[in-house]
Amino acid sequence: MEQLYGYFLYSLSLLTFGGIYAILCLGLNIQWGFTGLFNAGVAGFFAIGAYVSAILTAPESPRHLGGYDLPIPVGVFIAMVVCVPVAWAIGRVCIRLRSDYLAIATLGIAEIIRLVFKNELWATNGARGVSFVPKPFEAWDSPWDQIAMALVVLVIVALLYIAIELARTSPWGRLMAAIREDEPAALAAGKNVERFRLEAFVIGAVVMALGGAMMAHYIKFVDPKMAEPLKATFLVWVMLIAGGSGNNKGAILGAMLLWFIWSITETIAPIIIPDSFAHVVYPFHLVASWFLPEAWMATPIAPDPVTGLDSWDSKAPFLRVFLIGLALQIVLQKFSSGILPEQRLQSLADTDDASARAARSSPS
């Protein structure tokens, strides 16, 4: 019974994290999936959302800026608003760049944003981060607090899905796809391409900030490690591409599915690789430790006298990256445009709205 309850809580956390990643994926889908903007700096907007909302809502602390004690929704909202001018300014400078240069520029800017948060100690407490970020429904009894949190995230995902899907199926979405497909032709069709690219960039960034803010309130903590590109940018990209870029359902599915894989690797790594196998894998682990953030390479607690390795729990991180890569490969082998590829729509003109029905059925 106790174990069952544990599984239940675990699946709630899968849903909540998956949902938060789905928010990030929907944001990236607006930029990349619809408009073809290669934003490799998801982590930057994620960090802005997380930090702004955390600082605005966390209790007073001598270690960082704060003590505003704003309600969580207000903090989240302001975090999104703050992201608008930041994304707009970045977009103004970078949006005209060719796709690959845009990727390099945004990747660099996201790193700058992360380093600012890491180094402005007075505001952010540096590497030690902001703790005691309030979590919604904290006062409720378990598991109701977890259930309510998961529901809130899922409702946000659903509302975002509806709003973004309405946009995608309107001339706005068609125009974004046209810009992605052929910019000179979109220009020749009289569209102010730069303005629309900028719009997609800013809106996508605001959605990412929402994801970041939700993450901060869910795990009650922010630090610069959260905004490392591997987890906050790369993973989101893999989710979107596996799920199907250009397809909102695909973005959500990809996020849920890959978060599931990402999360259970932690549990299954020791099962699928016995400890005696450690000697073989050790060199790979060593190489991985050069590239992966420290946080992922947890320090061994009880080192094996031969290899210096502890049990496999702490080796999961590099295996995770491998499995995620493998999952992406398998998906793309089978579905070249992701599990749910982009759907071109019948025109909105087919919409059977009430007035048209009335017009048809009226005798005159």
């Binding site: 001339p171 032709a185 069709a189 919409t351 709205d353």
Partner: protein, 265 residues
């Protein structure tokens, strides 16, 4: 309608267009010919706002709402500005929105689509849908005109080269164009389709009053469609006039032979 004055484009030392003076008259179908590299496409790019001239003027005369004519220098304006003044172009190499359907390719074009605003698509859905119906009817009419109705829901990337050329022409039909610039509409189009294409251009000229300027290598098509014909060589106007006079002109023959072209026959 459109006058180029000493229009020059210098690509880092390559004088693609070298002090070009020419005029496109309203209501006519003007041909623009010349050997490869003469600067024809570059001139189109400047008129359509895709390239900024190094120097010179592009004087555009249009009639305002009050019926009064006014002439302005439009050189250097962005492409979307040119479009809203009624200048529409097609590309030498077709540019289609590959992952969009043929119908959608045309539906992108019209201006004043409320649904291009997020606010309107969220909160004024009905207005957006009504306009969408109009736009779709317009696109379906254009497809009918181009005999592309059977590929209406096909992705544009799956069209043949000739069909893509027709789609290029179709885009010009989705707006109140005044001046339409066609860059080699006949290249890669089979002879039957080519005759149809010429008919369509003539019809658009008569029925919709489009003024055309056409770059083309098919001399028979030029001869049957265009009057006057302007001959360009090395970024300058060599001569202009009726096709039968132009054909006899020694300099034209020389330009083509010098340019290594055989099509001047």
């Amino acid at each position: 309608m459109l006058r180029l004055e000493d229009l020059t484009k210098n690509f880092g030392g390559v004088l693609a267009v070298d002090g070009c003076n020419l005029e496109i008259e309203e209501g006519k179908i003007t041909g623009l010919i010349g050997p490869n590299g003469a600067g024809k496409t570059t001139i189109f790019n400047m008129i359509a706002g895709a390239l900024r001239p190094t120097s010179g003027k592009i004087l555009y005369t249009s009639r305002g709402e009050d019926g009064k004519e006014s002439t302005v220098d439009i050189s250097g304006l962005p492409t979307h500005e040119m479009f809203h003044r009624g200048i529409v172009r097609t590309f030498q190499i077709p540019h289609e929105f590959g992952a969009l359907t043929v119908l959608e390719n045309l539906m992108v074009v019209p201006a004043e689509q409320h649904g291009e605003s997020l606010y309107q698509s969220w909160f004024h859905r009905k207005k957006v849908i009504d306009r969408e119906r109009e736009v779709r009817r317009m696109a379906e009419d254009a497809l009918e005109f181009l005999s592309l109705t059977h590929v209406r829901d096909e992705l544009a990337q799956n069209l043949s080269g000739g069909q893509k050329k027709l789609l290029e022409l179709g885009r010009t039909m989705m707006t109140d164009a005044k001046l339409v610039l066609l860059d080699e509409p006949g290249a890669g189009v089979n002879p039957t389709l080519l005759r149809k294409l010429a008919d369509m251009i003539r019809r658009l000229n008569k029925e919709r009053g489009y003024t055309f300027c056409i770059i083309e290598h098919d001399m028979d098509m030029i001869a049957s469609l265009c009057d006057p014909v302007i001959v360009l060589a090395e970024g300058k106007v060599l001569t202009q006039g009726h096709m039968k006079d132009v054909r006899r002109d020694e300099r034209v023959l020389d330009a083509y032979l010098g340019g290594g072209e055989e099509e001047a026959a």
